[in-house]
């Protein structure tokens, strides 16, 4: 996979990219959440 034989390496290579994209998805989904909640209460 990806020119790498050892699964422990290509898995982590993919996981790094996926986790960074995951951060972006989380950020995008929660873009407007958690806005000034203290003032509301």
């Amino acid at each position: 996979m990806l020119g790498i034989d050892d699964p422990q390496i290509w898995v982590v290579y993919i996981l790094c990219v996926v986790s960074a994209i995951g951060c972006m998805i989380y950020g995008a989904l929660n873009w407007n959440k958690g806005n000034e909640e203290e003032d509301v209460k």
């Binding site: 020119g3 422990q8 290579y13 986790s19 951060c23 989380y26 950020g27 959440k33 000034e36 203290e38």
Partner: protein
Amino acid sequence: MVLNTPLLGITVLIYLMTIFYLGWLGYKKTKAIDDYMVAGRNIHPYILALSYGATFISTSAIIGFGGAAGALGMGLLWLALMNIVVGIFIAFVIFGSRTRKMGKNLDAVTFPELLGRRFDSRFIQGFSGILIGIFMPLYTGIVLIGGARFVETTLGVDYNVALMMLTIIVAAYVITGGLIAVMYTDALQGTLMLVGMSFLLIFTYIKLGGIVEAHHALTEISYLVPESLAKGGHMGWTAMPAFGSPIWWNLISTLVLGVGIGVLAQPQLVVRFMTAKDDRALNRAVFVGGPFILLMTGVAFTVGALSNAYFFKEKGMISLAVAGGNTDLIIPEFINSAMPEMFVVLFMLVLLAAAMSTLSSQYHTMGTAIGHDFYRQYLKKGNISHTVDITKIGIALTILVSVVLAYILPISIIAPATAIFFGLCAAAFLPMYIGALFWKRMTKEGAIASMLVGTFSSLFWLAFVHAKEAASLGISQAIFGKDTLLTGTWTVIDPIMVATPVAIITGIAVSLFTRPMGREHLEKCFKNMK
């Protein structure tokens, strides 16, 4: 690699002028103590994310660890994964949100103050402050030496002049502009790092004919691993070291766990959560932070490993041989020979930015730890005003100390400083910090016991067992006549795997045997928290 071209000179000049402008902006915006200490608790999410990332990633993360990947291979990507998942996602989403709310509830402006007020103990604040004040200058010393050596070689400036220049420039904007100046300049430096590392990745893959081709070329040359490394368990640059071998233990325990988890309790990073206005800012920062770290450590480790394929193709040698056995030279050698000159200039700036962004935050954190936490709150019991002035004096003093240390201490003591500081934070602060945020039953006594046991067990492990630091420090040798008290696998196991669990158990046990903290106090701490 002296690169004394007019182009570089002009670029550095423009860079410094922008830094001064941002520093001045910070100075102008600083009106109250909250501005100076926690950037008015109202920082922009983009600045927050880049400032956190740029502080997190120093020059050594790129050059040092990138070079380590050049020697050890892509197994280091597990650390990059930890950096993203733990250092960004868990840090911001799980720790960040609660830290921000509790910081606001307790009106805390530093990490020691947050812990001290949560457990209603001035001792915790003072002890944490002094711990940071003693050990952080050592850690700063190594960043400072690295930065100055780098300016010396690239700009051809005398080492002493470079050291002074770097100190004075960074000190000027940290002391006058406080955390706002630190974070604004961090954001600029982070942006530069982002651009530089993206180019580095793209150029490297292009040079080697594409992603799969590059990795394939690297897999093909695994027979070139030097015999000494192969004996330690090295199985090629695109393979993990043999399970249980010394290199495997070193990789997993020190790099992945030590640096990967240790990051959660770094005072200079924790304080940034308190600069966010609301959870929305933290969520948005995750959007930027994840890809930022991927492009820093992920790229450095991949490119470091791939440099072997490049050097083999061009010179028929592996990176370690090209760098004369010094892993710190692998990345610079690779950039110099593989990248276009324009890029070399940009990359010089990236490295300067990486050093300055880490330095500025260290100065701010250790200065506030001594000036605010230890002197004002602990010694003077909070009974003096002019806090910003005291903090400024604290910063100036600790800067002076770290410069003096950088001069007088032998490199054998300065070199392990990063590991010592990370180990200490993970053992002394992390258990108590987790308890502070998530476990209402943790008591003041439990927190103090965990902090003291964590501090001393981690220092003991570093000085007497963990071979890398113990041999370098020479304390064990002086007292017992041998480098380490234990032998075998113990000597490669990082303190975080020993001292931190011991501190956690102590914290839990002592808390369960002591009286819970008052309900009113807890309600105040956990106001608006689920």
